[in-house]
């Protein structure tokens, strides 16, 4: 078996392959569902219903998608410049820490001033967290995959230290969580009595902003040039290292917004279960969207829907909700395969 390059794919095949990828995902997941002793049609039906079958389900999916849009955008931005930021999880937590520190009464400001200020500080903190690996990469050639990945554990332990110490809520009955945010620091709910909050709107605006940056600005052009061919970019006089730094700042800032939005919008305080791996899932979200910022919104909602729907399905059908993880992972693998097939032809013998 061997691969041979193929001319550029037409529009039809560009749409057909991803559709095929989704179909393949369902087929593969069906096998597992059958092993679990349920009917795939029932199970997928329940997942879909649980994700979008009611107003409540839909709002829950969008709520879950909000942090994924931010981390997905963070990864998409970085990957465009081939800066392999695997540390969105850490940047998310740092954003959460800043929000908890500044939002629990430290700054006596009115909401319209306080919320943007906290968001900005969270972004700066996340940006600086990714700047370190970027400097190590550009100055000493240290692989950022390793540094950003390991920082996730360091930051999580750091957060745990804070929550057992200085940030620990005195009224928290001993739970490792911070005090609740003051009212002024919180993001308003979009619909009264529902969990969906302003963070979702901010995420949509962020996606649009990232799209503009990538497509319309000189910086976005530089990032794509560096990512596509770093040697050619250097030859053309693009300041490669500076571009990578800017990319790191932008990516880290976006991931930190996920933490800000979860703490200020949804949870109301900082705890160690702030993120069930939103940073890592952001990588899947970005890859499924082929790194397109507006596609990130769609794929974040898709992935969130599978998770939310699988929870509901699990209660009703008795198939473990881990099927969601399998489906998302399979979707990533089939998607990557589909992308390869749009560029190469497989020849058997």
């Amino acid at each position: 078996m061997r691969l041979e390059p193929k001319p550029a794919p037409g529009l039809v095949s560009a749409l057909l392959y991803p559709a095929g990828a989704i179909l393949a995902t369902l087929v593969i997941a069906s096998v597992l569902v059958l092993i679990a002793g349920a009917s795939p049609f029932t199970v997928f039906g329940l997942v879909a219903k649980g994700a979008a079958g009611s107003r409540f389900a839909l709002l829950e999916t969008l709520t879950r998608a909000t942090p994924l849009i931010f981390t997905g955008l963070a990864v998409a931005v970085a990957f465009h410049a081939k800066l392999w930021n695997i540390g969105a999880e850490a940047q998310l937590y740092i954003g959460g820490v800043v929000t908890a520190v500044l939002g629990t009464g430290a700054l006596p400001l009115p909401g319209p001033l306080l919320v943007p200020l906290i968001a900005l500080c969270a972004m700066v903190a996340g940006a600086l967290l990714l700047l370190g690996p970027a400097v190590l990469k550009t100055r000493f050639g240290v692989d950022e995959v390793v540094t950003t990945l390991l920082l996730n554990f360091i930051v999580l332990l750091f957060v745990s230290l804070l929550l057992e110490g200085p940030l620990k809520d005195p009224m928290g009955m001993g739970w490792p969580q911070s005090a609740a945010l003051v009212g002024e620091a919180r993001l308003p709910r979009l619909i009264h009595g529902k969990r969906l909050h302003l963070g979702f709107v901010i995420a949509l605006v962020a996606a649009l902003a990232v799209w503009v940056i990538l497509r319309k600005t000189a910086l976005g052009y530089e990032m794509r040039a560096v990512g596509n061919n770093i040697q050619a970019a250097r030859f053309a006089g693009i300041p490669v290292n500076r571009v990578l730094m800017k990319t790191a700042l932008l990516s880290g800032g976006l991931a930190a917004l996920a933490g800000f939005s979860e703490v200020a919008g949804l949870k109301g305080n900082l705890s160690l279960d702030l993120s069930p791996g939103f940073g890592y899932t952001g990588i899947v979200v970005a890859m499924l969207a082929l790194l397109h910022p507006l596609g990130v919104v769609v794929s974040a909602i898709f992935v969130a829907g599978i998770f939310v729907g699988a929870d509901a399905m699990s209660r009703a059908a008795g198939v473990p909700s881990y099927i969601a993880q399998v489906m998302v992972a399979t979707a990533l693998l089939t998607m990557v395969t589909a992308i390869m097939l749009t560029r190469y032809r497989i020849r058997w013998r």
């Binding site: 000189a218 794509r224 040039a225 061919n229 030859f235 006089g237």
Partner: protein, 520 residues
């Protein structure tokens, strides 16, 4: 070694290609190619870049699968797509780019892959004896215990040939073997080939250089656009006939009219560089480029051309020495400074350095000027203006592309080079760095590039032409320099040196011992 010949069939045919066709998408790289190689014969496969020579060799050796046709060795059909079967059948290949492990010794490289992975014992003494015999018999001198990274290019090639002979190769395929050799090394290679043939080996010699083909072969096959355009006995043909067959037309050489050079534009004084570019670093060179003059730089690949090109392009900073442009000493030296001082750059490798394959024609067209007010306002790019610019290049330089929005990886080498010319010549540069500007191009594109370079010279640009193709340097240059081991020879006016003299300089003769020779 003699025992290796016993298996050969008596009818004389050792290798036969039958109707080999290979397509890549719409491109037909080989179109029903058939020929027979006989025992003790040297066939030269002649053709331009892109004529399909390398594809054919890859099919022969099992790297590619043919769409139609097959290969026979010693009367047996080779299973397609299996390099191991080709090796077992006695076909040895010496690639244009060597396939040696740098950190291992010559002996280890040669024996590599001939041993079963499961065998624990390696009979070093026997291997050594065999290699020594082979290298003595065929004039392939090389020290078996030397580490490959310490060897010169010519020595590495000998190791490659030894590697094939060690495996009892009875057919040797050499892909552009002289591209990296000095004229003297080339002569030595030809002597070796004669000895091999005398021992009954057969050789397939791939080249695009007419002189070599005439010197070494018994029979010439000319490949053009994937087809065999003609077959001639070497004794019954000549340069012009072969050239016409190769191109399918008579080619007009560029005409250079003498004219006096103008003022000095750029001066390099006592430049030294270190590493990171590949090839030799520059060892204290002086170089002056003048208006309306093409300075040709001849030399064997890897002798400092890459460093000099990177230096002029602004991607390599000198360790010591001075760069002066119109008398002004350059402080900071980057690609941007070079562009700001109107140096137009044609890089050696258009695929990896000149162009960003997955970005489109427009994006590649503006890669050196996107920051200028022409294309960006307060950080926002003017894509409309950029597209107009790209369309202007497409029109003026006759770039054939599906659309300005097509990724440049879909463009042919010639069209990519035209796009690079359009980008580099934008704004009438004062200095032009042309590094291997015609490598891999077909004859039409070569003529186009030459014409554009001469046009730029005639309007007053100072041009440095770096080329491994001596004929190109001789045809275009107003004066010629030779680079060897990072040092420059003194310049000679066109016609002042014979090819042989240049060849000797390329081999490193005629240089002062320390500090290099300073170009006047």
């Amino acid at each position: 070694m003699d025992g290796a010949m016993d298996g050969a069939m008596d009818d004389g045919a050792v290798l036969r290609l039958v109707g080999v066709t290979k397509r890549f998408g719409p491109l037909v790289a080989n179109d029903s190619v058939s020929f027979t190689l006989n025992k003790g014969e040297v066939i030269a496969l002649l053709g331009e870049n892109g004529a399909g020579k390398t594809t054919l060799m890859n099919i022969l050796f099992g790297h590619y699968l043919a769409d139609e046709g097959h290969v026979e060795a010693f009367g047996h059909r080779l299973p397609p797509g299996e390099p191991r079967a080709a090796l077992a059948a006695g076909i040895g290949m010496v690639h244009q780019h060597f396939t040696l492990a740098d950190s291992m010794s010559v002996l280890e490289n040669i024996a590599l892959g001939t041993q079963s992975l499961w065998s624990l014992r390696f009979d070093r003494r026997r291997a050594l004896a065999r290699i020594t015999t082979l290298s003595r018999d065929f004039g392939l001198e090389v020290h078996p215990n030397a580490q490959v990274s310490d060897l010169s290019v010519g020595e590495r090639q000998r190791v490659e040939i030894l590697k094939a002979l060690y495996r009892d190769a009875r057919v040797l395929i050499l892909d552009e073997p002289t591209a990296v050799l000095t004229p003297l090394e080339t002569e030595a290679l030809f002597r070796t080939l004669k000895k091999l043939v005398a021992k009954g080996l057969s050789i397939l010699f791939i080249s695009h250089k007419l002189n070599e083909v005439l010197a070494v072969s018994d029979r010439v096959l000319v490949l053009r656009s994937g087809k065999i355009a003609g077959e001639r006995a070497t004794s019954a043909t000549n340069r012009s006939e072969l050239a016409a067959l190769m191109v399918g037309d008579t080619v007009t050489e560029p005409t250079v009219t003498d004219h006096a050079p103008g003022e000095t534009v750029i001066e390099l004084v006592g430049i030294r560089t270190t590493g990171r570019v590949g090839g030799a670093p520059l060892d204290t060179i002086d170089l002056t480029l003048r208006e309306g003059e093409i300075t040709g730089l001849a030399g064997v690949s890897g002798n400092g051309q890459a460093a000099l090109a990177a230096l002029l392009a602004g991607t390599l900073r000198p360790d010591s020495g001075t760069i002066r442009i119109r008398g002004e000493e350059m402080g900071e030296w980057t690609a941007r400074t070079a562009l700001a001082h109107r140096i137009g750059r044609i890089p050696e490798d258009r695929h990896t350095i000149g162009m960003i394959g997955d970005m489109n024609v427009i994006e590649n067209a503006i890669s050196e000027s996107y920051r200028s007010p022409r294309f960006s306002h307060r950080g926002l790019l003017d894509w409309k203006g950029a597209e107009d610019f790209a369309r202007a290049i497409i029109r003026d330089y006759d770039v054939k592309c599906p659309s300005p929005r097509a990724p440049v990886r879909l463009l042919s080498g010639g069209n990519m080079q035209k796009l690079i010319l359009g980008r580099a010549f934008d704004g009438a540069p004062h200095v032009i760095l042309a590094s291997q500007p015609t490598r891999g191009l077909d004859v039409g594109a070569v003529a186009y590039v030459h014409a554009k370079l001469l046009e730029a010279r005639n309007r007053g640009a100072a041009i440095l032409l770096i080329s491994e193709d001596l004929d190109e340097v001789l045809a275009l240059s107003d004066r010629i320099l030779v680079i060897s081991k990072g040092r420059l020879s003194p310049p000679s006016a066109r016609g002042a040196l014979t090819v042989r003299e240049i060849g000797e300089r390329m081999a490193g003769h005629g240089f002062q011992e320390e500090g290099g020779i300073h170009a006047a």
